[in-house]
């Protein structure tokens, strides 16, 4: 998949980094970007404020604005749920990748009129992928959400309850039969480890501000 992506050698380490991060990230089940955001805020020891805004012409549909005290994520709230979620995770990806700001302050200033420009440390805007940082954040967001989508789909269909040791463990058939005796038993073993680390945190209220994308 990634051999085709961008092709250039300069991106390989970035690709590897994103894949590693997406694979190792502990995802909320079912996936909720707000829970992910809260976990990240706790880990970084800084509040992250979520601000849904209407999309504007010639303005990024997602913005990350960092000040001395907090990070602000602005995302277009008047688009599809999947798209909103993607924009939000794109900005989360900037935080995870610790990107330095490169976008102009003007769009953020227009959306956050009370914010003093002197306090702003960085601004990143989701516009196009000409900027390597934007490309990297977009890639990481896509990888995270693809993985989350797969995990959620598997949970919903019951396929996530794999036979012992994983769905490709043929020996599971011998053990499963005794434990799950009965007709039409399609789930050989229900004590399989989940695809990714489970979380005890159920869905929580939306972030400090705004609606849940």
């Amino acid at each position: 998949m990634w051999g085709e992506l961008w092709g250039g050698r300069g991106y390989r380490s970035s690709l590897r980094r994103c894949r590693r991060m997406a694979e190792r990230l502990e995802l909320p089940r079912p996936f909720d970007p707000v829970v992910l955001l809260e976990q990240l805020a706790v880990r970084r020891g800084r509040p992250i404020e979520l601000l849904p805004v209407p999309a504007r012409p010639h303005a990024p549909c997602g913005l990350l604005v960092s000040t001395l005290e907090a990070d602000y994520i602005l995302y277009a709230a008047d688009t599809g749920v999947l798209h909103q979620r993607h924009i939000l995770v794109h900005e989360i990806a900037h935080l995870m990748l610790d990107h330095a700001g490169s976008a102009p302050l003007a769009p953020a200033a227009a959306l956050l009129p009370n914010l003093s420009p002197a306090l702003v440390q960085r601004v990143l805007g989701r516009t196009s992928y000409d900027e390597p940082q934007e490309r990297e954040a977009e890639l990481l967001a896509s990888l995270i959400l693809s993985r989350a989508e797969r995990a959620d789909a598997a949970d919903q269909s019951g396929a996530g309850r794999a036979p012992a040791g994983g769905s490709l463990d043929a020996l599971g058939v011998l053990l499963a039969a005794r434990r799950h005796g009965g007709p039409n038993d399609d789930g050989p073993n229900d004590d399989a480890p989940q695809d990714s680390g489970p979380t005890d945190e159920g869905p929580t209220d939306a972030g400090p501000q705004g609606r849940r994308p």
Partner: protein, 433 residues
């Protein structure tokens, strides 16, 4: 050629053992004994294959060839013992899994069973070595043969009979356990898998029973087959095929599910292509992967589908500024000529808005100031929002179909194109003046 048939069967068991060694099932003992059993059986078959024995015979040391046959028989005894020990390992795992005992509780009886099984194996191997030493056979062609003395003939027959009985006892124990499990599993997929494995063991018992012929020949004539023969290869192949089919039963749903999922994602990905291509032609900045040039199917269509959906949404957001308010009037006229089906009305409105906005975006113009106010600020996002990938994909696939095939949308597109051409001509004329 038929003499080579044992090699694939032997290799199958050896490779299976590699698979079982990586098994992550709860019962390490069950995984270990299955691994040992298949590895020993596979190696035994490779050692006892006629070409192997003939190759050793070719070294000119007859005793070495006999030693190889004895070694192969010993490996097979080891395989049978490991399969027999799989029974207590499975029961111990059940006791732990059902909550009727802890792992420590189950480990005691299992350890005793393992010690008993190993003691039995040691006894069998010792007795067989003693009998074969007493018989002192040589190789006549590929047959093991002894002198005419009754004691030598009985020793050779005893050597084979002891191995055969031990294997029969071990396989029967495992067969009974599998039959019990198959009954408990009932008629479902799991039960079918277990019945196939049990069928493989029955084939193994028949394969083992074929040694009766050797016992009788040894007792009467003082000779018997050294390496495995063609019938053994056939029964071994049947045994391997049934066991493989049975154990693979857990792989079927995962494998067929993966193939179905791949096909579904690929179909949806292709359904979005006409719409995405038009959007990408005018707005190339939406693509994360601009290097993709070959019209090959994506290796991970689910990821590609996800990207395509996001890129279409990005394009819809960008196109909002190019929404032409006159598009609603054009559509009104077009739908009077080509009324869409009732369930296509919303998609037709959105597709027409997209088509008109794309024409303006392609010309790099925004709706003129003289145009009346837009009927809806987010006409391109007015349809129901969906939060799953499949739901979004189906929704956008429907939109893409309407966008590409609806005659009313085509008429709006033609009208927008004409307006765009007129605007460009007017702009050129102004520039010339």
């Amino acid at each position: 050629m038929s003499e080579l048939a044992l090699y694939p069967v032997g290799l199958f068991f050896v490779l299976s053992s590699a698979h079982f060694s990586r098994s992550r099932i709860d019962s390490r003992a069950a995984a270990r004994f299955t691994c040992y059993g298949t590895a020993l059986l596979g190696t035994a078959l490779l050692v006892l294959a006629p070409p192997t024995v003939r190759a050793v015979q070719g070294t000119g040391v007859p005793a070495l060839a006999v030693l190889v046959i004895v070694l192969g028989d010993g490996l097979r005894d080891g395989a049978a013992a490991a399969m027999r020990l799989l029974v207590p390992a499975l029961r111990a795992a059940d006791a732990t899994g059902n909550g009727t005992g802890t792992a420590a509780d189950a480990a005691g009886p299992l350890r005793r069973e393992v010690r008993g099984g190993l003691a039995l194996l040691a006894g069998v191997l010792g007795l067989r070595v003693a009998l074969i030493t007493a018989a002192a056979p040589g190789l006549a062609g590929q047959d093991l043969s002894v002198g005419p003395e009754l004691s030598a003939r009985l020793a050779l027959a005893g050597y084979t009979a002891v191995g055969m009985l031990h294997t029969a006892v071990c396989l029967t124990a495992l067969l009974r356990e599998l039959a019990r499990r198959a009954r408990a599993a009932g008629p479902g997929r799991l039960g079918t898998g277990l019945r196939l494995v049990a069928g493989g063991l029955v084939a193994g018992l028949l394969w083992n029973a074929w040694s009766v012929d050797d016992v009788l020949r040894a007792a009467v004539t003082g000779s018997q087959d050294g390496p495995e023969d063609l019938l053994c290869a056939a029964l071994g192949g049947l045994c391997a095929a049934l066991i493989a089919a049975g154990l693979a039963s857990t792989l079927w749903p995962a494998a067929t599910g993966a193939v179905r999922g791949w096909l579904r994602a690929h179909r949806r990905y292709r359904a979005l292509t006409p719409l995405w291509r038009d959007l990408h032609t005018v707005l190339p900045e939406i693509a994360l992967d601009p290097a993709r040039r070959l019209p090959l199917p994506p290796r991970d269509p689910r990821f590609a589908l996800y990207r395509r959906i996001i890129e279409i949404h990005d394009a819809r957001l960008i196109l909002r500024q190019h929404l032409d308010p006159r598009a609603a009037q054009w559509l009104d006229r077009a739908t009077r000529r080509f009324p869409p089906p009732a369930d296509h009305t919303a998609a037709t409105a959105e597709a027409a808005s997209l088509a008109a906005a794309l024409e303006l975006a392609a010309a790099g113009t925004l709706p003129g100031p003289a145009a009346p106010a837009a009927p809806a600020a987010d006409a391109l996002g007015s349809l129901e929002s969906l939060d799953t990938l499949d739901g979004e994909a189906d929704h956008l696939a429907h939109l893409a179909r309407v966008y590409a095939t609806c005659p009313a949308v085509a008429e709006v597109r033609t009208r927008a194109r004409a307006e765009r051409a007129r605007a460009e001509r007017a702009r050129a004329a102004t520039a010339t003046r």
